[in-house]
């Protein structure tokens, strides 16, 4: 953090502590102030970021904190964190298969480990371990391939036998009773979960302290380009804002926004559903995921089981999804955790995920000068927020993609150099 001596950062860094809470408790907590301002948009910014989710706010924070770019605005059509940042199941891990992905997500995971203190905001990163189950011989081979690859990359990874998996997650049924019994699992002990809203708010507060304008209720309605075709301004519901560098970081609406600049992206938007149970006392010590049966589960600090489903099968912007998709997810989970049938679903919801042909994100410039993309994270963007924010900010400041991000450019859909993590899980026979 090169700017750690900056007084504004110091103020933000010191603002939250137990001592302060103690002092405030004597005065009815009347001394707290806004965590981020509510500024009017200025006429021009060096960088305008569209989308006040984790990725957009983290990018803004790193632009201000590390790249010396202070005239930065984050435009959010509703309230910050109202998209996928506030709807996801918060799984954080870096045990991807391909080196390009490993580099990106491991960079991010390292930042997660110190994020609360970096931001002086408890994002509750809980490295409780992420277990990915294998249910067929083919799954087990794919899991082992991941473990080999991760270890070579210096990422912590272990292969678990069913008994070892059971020891880490006692309510898991590792008998032969389920239709798809557990045959093995991967384990990343440094992986875990975090409090999604706190990540958004923490970045907003820190970015705001550095002078970034976080502008809510400001929807982008158009992109203006100059005679040379370069970005010159964005039109918003709160007026036009001039900028020469526009970054679209609005998961779920990337195609709509890119369309305003005349681009068609390799993206389709699907509903992704999640649900929580009623709060219960601790029963799930770690994160368990199964790609084979499309189920993801952890337990929140409040006690709810947080469950992710597979994406719905048709594109939609309705943030709703079909009932039978959640049903199918619970089918699977109740097979693996037969004690959970008596728990009850308290709430389910959907987000919109932007899926690319290779399910890897798009990070980098476009054919339109001044227009940059940070999108296409599919179902797994939350975990990348700190890393993508830092590296994307560096890319914007340099005007060229950071080496870690370079493989994720839009150009890969011209050359065919896809980064398809799912191919390794191709159906076997």
């Amino acid at each position: 953090m090169i700017a750690a001596h900056d007084p504004r950062i110091l103020r933000a860094m010191r603002g939250f502590s137990f001592g302060r809470i103690l002092r405030e408790s004597f005065s009815g907590h009347t001394g707290w102030t806004r965590q981020w301002r509510s500024p009017e948009p200025q006429r021009a910014y060096d960088v305008v970021i569209v989308g006040g989710g984790g990725h957009g706010l983290a990018t803004a924070y790193h632009l201000a904190a590390e790249q010396g770019v202070r005239r930065v605005a984050v435009l959010e059509k509703g309230w910050i964190g109202g998209g996928n940042s506030g709807r996801n199941t918060t799984i954080v891990r870096s045990n991807y298969l391909f080196e390009e992905s490993e580099a990106l997500y491991e960079h991010s995971l390292k930042l997660w480990e110190g994020l609360s203190r970096t931001l002086n905001y408890n994002v509750m990163y809980s490295p409780r371990g992420v277990m990915a189950l294998g249910h067929t011989e083919s799954d087990v081979q794919i899991i082992r391939r991941h473990v080999h690859a991760n270890r070579l990359a210096g990422i912590d990874a272990d292969f678990l036998t069913p008994a070892q998996a059971k020891a880490l997650c006692p309510i898991l049924d590792v008998s032969q009773a389920p239709r798809y019994p557990v045959l093995g699992a991967s384990w990343q002990g440094r992986g875990g979960v975090a409090r999604h809203d706190a990540v958004v708010w923490g970045y907003a507060r820190a970015a705001d302290a550095l002078g970034v304008d976080v502008i809510e209720n400001c929807e982008v309605t158009g992109v203006r380009r100059d005679a040379a075709g370069a970005v010159s301004a964005v039109e918003t519901t709160r007026g036009a804002i001039s900028t020469r560098m526009l970054a679209l970081v609005a998961a779920g609406h990337s195609s709509v926004l890119a369309g305003m600049a005349g681009l068609r992206l390799p993206i389709e938007s699907f509903p992704l559903q999640a649900l929580v149970s009623e709060p219960v006392k601790p029963i799930m010590p770690c994160v368990v995921m199964s790609n084979t049966i499309d189920a993801y589960m952890s337990q929140s600090d409040k006690g709810e089981l947080v469950i992710g489903a597979a994406a719905d099968v048709y594109p939609s912007y309705a943030q709703r999804g079909s009932f039978h998709v959640t049903g199918a997810t619970l089918d699977s989970l109740c097979e693996l955790f037969p004690c959970l049938r008596r728990l009850r679903m308290m709430r389910c919801w959907a987000g919109i995920v932007d899926i690319t042909p290779d399910r890897s994100p798009i990070l980098g410039p476009t054919d339109v000068p001044g227009l940059w993309l940070n999108c296409g994270w599919g179902t797994g963007g939350f975990k990348a927020i700190p890393g993508s924010g830092q590296l994307f900010a560096a890319s914007l400041a340099q005007g060229a993609p950071h080496p870690v991000l370079a493989p994720f450019g839009l150009d890969r859909f011209r050359t065919g150099r896809l980064i398809d993590e799912a191919t390794a899980a191709a159906v076997s026979h």
Binding site: P266, I267, E268, V313, A318, R414
Partner: protein, 90 residues
């Protein structure tokens, strides 16, 4: 669970009988060998992904097995109409 009108069966049937097959109107270059990389990869990857009315290919995979084009509003998940022809541009 959408109710989807199959123009071949002339019935609205539940979503689970169908398979979504992507955006309609993507034209495969007539002579792929003559297409530039840009033209070819646009056909392969670029999508309109509209927010609003969308024309998309579906197949009644657990019914008549045939493809058709469905007009649907992606904001509301409302199916509007469907038509049998899929070969011509919408």
């Amino acid at each position: 669970m959408l109710l989807i009108p199959c123009p071949h069966c002339r019935q609205s049937r539940p979503e689970r009988e169908f398979r979504h097959c992507g955006e309609a109107g993507l034209l495969r270059p007539v002579d792929p060998a003559a297409a530039s990389d840009r033209e070819w990869t646009d056909y392969l990857f670029a999508r309109t992904n509209p927010k609003g009315e969308s024309q998309e290919r579906w197949r009644h995979v657990h019914g008549c097995g045939r493809f058709f084009v469905l007009r649907r509003d992606t904001r509301e998940d409302a199916c509007v109409t469907s038509r049998a022809g899929v070969e011509e541009a919408p």
